[in-house]
């Protein structure tokens, strides 16, 4: 009778669970394709390592540890679930033959305790410590899960304890349950009443498990099922290479994302895998600046939008994505700094989705006026400044020598100068310094003069794929006519395009950042710095050099070679905080920022105390941070120095 009943509720619950799960996964089957099945071994080992080692989760210690406790406990306690359902559905089934009453029992007792501690820590975190990253997450969902998970473990322990009471003797392998049984006996429980209680707790245990099972597909705890897959299907392309827009399936297909089915299945899987942990929100410069963007809310809103569209949850099923589920301002707020993606424990790809939706807005011509001016300038002149291409190399006019024209003669190093380094008056000074340094060190280098166009890195991130291709192709064609060994650039954005984006267009180059080249020249004795005038400095990692292309060490080694003492800001290397200029933000109105990210960053540097210089290695950073220091009125305390300036002052 009981067996029949258990079969009935189990099968019934599984059916409901399957249906609820399928309702949410079904849209993936109608979404666009994504090639995420290559390199299975690489995918598998990476996913397992992320799960097993909790690599990203442990960057947030408290949460990482508690998740590890809950996660391992869950694995161990699944044996208890197996035992419970196995014995109930198939009378006679027992894990005892492999140690269900001995070592497995011991593990279950220990991990049950760990699970309860983990849950308590989680609750403490959520209700007492309340980190800001939870703002916007669904507390009710989390609370219910704590209660259900706690209920499962407690009923399990009580089931074990009543069994011990029934047996009348302590269980040598179940110390926790044995202690609990003494407590029960203390309340007056007899072997007789324990038998009833045992049955009650068994059923409670079963029912809470099944409730949990039914609840999960509609909860952020879906990630228990999906996170592993999301990790497995993570992108393996270079970090700096954005996925292309969807391939047009038919002539009428616009190739843009307007409905949820226009996303790839991986995009949709991302939204379903989100745990609402808010790590992305806590590192997002736009969110910190008060802009209407939280990467977490973005993913949650897309998920809820998708489920509403599917009729799974209530709401307007015809709400558009852009201007409906997600506002235009939200999409334009992103600096594409990638901090969110770097920190996400389940490898959700926020930035590609934002860019994908920007592409739709660009296709519709929905750009804010300032951005439109910059983009129109790219179209007409190939740079955001709207300056004639002929003036791109005007900065060379005041040099002590004339740089080679790499289009006319072979060079060892082809210097791709970039827009800001070419046209911005402040950055031009630094560009000239680099040129003089290379000249002094006898480097055989040349530039493209008016043949260079903007690399298109940020044009692509603004969402104008066609313009990116036009710009990139012009550069690729120009470079094809040149003879050179390596490309050097001072601009991390150009570096990213040349190194990570152009290969997708069939152009592969050996690309280096000037920090590396200057370091090599010093190491080779071509430049001799004096090291007795060391400063105490801090260093800002540019997003597109550091997080995107792993260029963390060369700038630091270079500063060390010049005798400077580096004091790191709390947010450094992978966790560097974006200046706010990336992703085309430098061409947009920054009223969306209540506190500009660059000013937030300068305040972080000022907190270090004894530093005098804020060292940068990106022309845009020079512009952004000079302005930030000016706006904050702290020019007497801190000065922006580009690496080129440091080297120039040192070798003079």
């Amino acid at each position: 009778m009981q067996t029949m009943l258990l079969w009935l509720v189990t099968v019934g619950a599984l059916a409901v669970f399957a249906r609820r799960f399928w309702l949410r996964l079904a849209p993936l089957s109608r979404a666009r394709a994504a090639n995420r099945t290559d390199q299975p071994m690489e995918r598998l080992t990476g996913a397992l390592a992320d799960i097993g080692l909790h690599r990203r989760l442990l960057r947030f210690t408290w949460s990482g540890v508690l998740h590890f406790m809950i996660f391992t406990s869950f694995l161990v306690l699944s044996t208890a679930i197996l035992q419970a359902f196995g014995s109930g559905l198939f009378p006679g089934f027992s894990l005892a033959v492999i140690g269900g009453d001995t070592w497995i029992a011991l593990l279950q007792d220990i991990f049950a305790l760990l699970m309860l501690i983990g849950l308590a820590m989680a609750a403490w975190q959520r209700f007492v410590r309340k980190p800001a990253r939870f703002v916007g997450s669904k507390t009710g969902d989390a609370t219910l899960i704590y209660l259900l998970a706690g209920g499962i473990v407690l009923t399990m322990l009580l089931e074990f304890a009543t069994a011990i009471v029934m047996s009348g003797a302590p269980h040598a392998w179940r110390p926790v349950s044995t202690v609990l049984s003494h407590l029960l006996i203390g309340t007056g429980m007899t072997a007789q009443s324990a038998s009833t209680a045992h049955l009650v707790f068994f059923w409670l245990h079963i029912l809470i498990i099944l409730t949990f099972l039914i609840y999960i597909p509609g909860s952020k705890h879906r990630h228990m099922m999906l996170a592993a897959f999301n990790l497995y299907f993570r992108p393996l392309t270079p970090k700096g290479q954005l996925p292309p827009p969807p391939t047009k399936l038919a002539e009428a297909d616009t190739g843009t994302v307007e409905t949820y089915q226009d996303f790839t299945w991986k995009d949709l899987l991302d939204t379903l895998s989100c745990t609402e942990c808010g790590r992305c929100q806590s590192v997002c410069p736009a969110y910190a600046a008060g802009a209407p963007l939280s990467p977490k809310s973005l993913i949650m809103d897309l998920r809820d939008g998708l489920l509403t569209h599917e009729g799974v949850i209530d709401g307007d099923a015809h709400l558009p994505i852009i201007g409906g589920a997600i506002s235009q301002e939200t999409l334009w707020s992103c600096t594409t700094c990638r901090a969110c993606m770097e920190v996400c424990p389940v490898h959700i790809e926020h930035v590609p989705k934002i860019v994908q939706l920007r592409r739709t807005m660009v296709e519709d011509g929905a750009l804010e006026p300032m951005l439109q001016t910059a983009m129109t300038n790219f179209q007409s002149q190939g740079n955001s400044f709207g300056k004639p291409a002929k003036q791109r190399a005007r900065w060379t006019k005041d040099l002590s020598f004339k740089p080679k024209d790499a289009r006319n003669e072979p060079v060892d190093i082809l210097w791709f100068v970039g827009d800001f380094a070419s046209f911005d008056t402040r950055a031009q000074e630094l560009t000239r310094m680099v040129a003089e340094l290379l000249h002094k060190a006898g480097v055989d280098f040349g530039i493209l003069y008016d043949g260079e166009r903007n690399s298109g890195n940020d044009v692509r991130r603004v969402g104008d794929e066609g313009l990116f291709e036009l710009l990139a192709q012009q550069n690729i064609d120009t470079l094809a006519g040149c003879t050179f060994n390596r490309i050097m650039t001072t601009d991390p954005h150009s570096l990213n395009a040349l190194k990570s984006e152009y290969p997708a267009l069939g152009a592969n180059y050996d690309v280096m950042h000037y920090a590396q080249l200057l370091l090599d020249l010093i190491k080779a004795g071509k430049l001799t710095p004096r090291t007795d005038a060391g400063l105490t400095v801090t260093y800002h990692d540019p997003c597109y050099l550091g997080r995107y292309n792993g260029g963390f060490d060369a700038p630091r080694d270079l500063m060390a070679a010049l005798g400077h003492t580096l004091k790191e800001m709390p947010r450094n290397r992978e966790n560097s905080f974006c200046c706010g200029a990336g992703g085309g933000r430098i061409w947009m109105d920054d009223v969306v920022f209540k506190e500009r990210p660059s000013e937030n960053r300068i305040k972080e540097a000022l907190e270090l105390g004894e530093i005098t210089h804020f060292v940068v290695s990106c022309p845009k950073d020079v512009v952004m941070y000079t302005a930030a220091i000016q706006n904050l009125g702290v020019g007497d305390r801190l000065a922006v120095r580009d690496l080129a300036e440091l080297v120039t002052l040192s070798v003079a």
Partner: protein, 256 residues
């Protein structure tokens, strides 16, 4: 309803201008060229009218370096057709609006539109602006400094602006020539994908029966303005300059 919109390239003035050796022209070596901002407005107005009235839009330009790219941009923005008017560079002494007006006028006669839209002025219209010249050469009514255009069968309603923000609304029989100041909406952004798709498109030529007319350019010399008679200049860094201005304001009694 057929609209012709004229597109012209002109020097980008964000940079310092230098003069050619004979002082008759600007030095074109370092200077860049871009679509005349008023022609940009004219194009937008044309496309707006296409959207509201179902008109067809034909963009035309005198053939020159960059004119094909400019016309492709017009196509991407919504023009239905585009033509370059060939001009042998050696035959032409001046590219002023006055000189080139007969060529545009001939093209307009060939295309026979109901409405011609062109930017009110270009930055080198020393001998007059293009729209009134087109009016004179075609004999059609012409209205410049226009900020609104609406079309109905055989008629256009326009808003003409005067100094001080005054304006008047006119009804005019088509065909008509409009020197446009501002379109009714700011020029739209055209995604690069549309430009990319037009990359291989050839802009056809439109042979016209006309020749440039003479202007007074042979008797004109250009010079950089003599700034010495102008402002008293404050030197130094930002702080010095602010101090000088502050002192001046105090001296003149504007501040305490």
């Amino acid at each position: 309803m057929k609209i012709v919109v004229i597109q012209r390239l002109e020097p980008v003035l964000t940079e310092e201008l230098e003069l050619s050796d004979d002082g008759r022209d600007i030095d074109r070596e370092w200077i860049g060229f871009a679509l005349n901002q008023f022609d940009d407005q004219a194009l937008e107005q044309a496309v707006l009218l296409k959207e509201s009235n179902g008109a067809t839009v034909t963009a035309i330009a005198i053939e020159d370096e960059g004119s094909d790219k400019m016309l492709k941009n017009a196509l991407a923005r919504g023009a239905d057709a585009a033509f370059q008017i060939p001009l042998d560079a050696d035959d032409v002494e001046s590219r002023s609006s006055r000189a080139l007006a007969p060529l545009y006028a001939a093209a307009i006669r060939t295309l026979a539109p109901d409405l011609v839209l062109v930017g009110i002025l270009s930055n080198s219209d020393l001998y007059g602006e293009l729209a009134p010249y087109l009016g004179a050469h075609t004999g059609w009514p012409q209205i410049s400094a226009v900020t609104e255009v609406r079309l109905a069968a055989g008629k256009a309603t326009v808003r003409q602006e005067y100094a001080g923000g005054r304006a008047a609304r006119f009804e005019v029989d088509t065909p008509v020539i409009i020197g446009l100041q501002t379109a009714m909406q700011p020029p739209r952004y055209v995604a690069g994908s549309k430009l990319r798709d037009l990359l291989k498109v050839q802009i056809p030529e439109l042979e016209v029966d006309g020749a440039p007319s003479a202007d007074m350019s042979h008797g004109t010399t250009l010079a950089l303005p003599d700034q010495s008679a102008g402002a008293v200049m404050f030197d130094g860094d930002a702080d010095d300059i602010a101090t000088s201005i502050h002192n001046l304001l105090k001296e003149k009694g504007f501040v305490q």
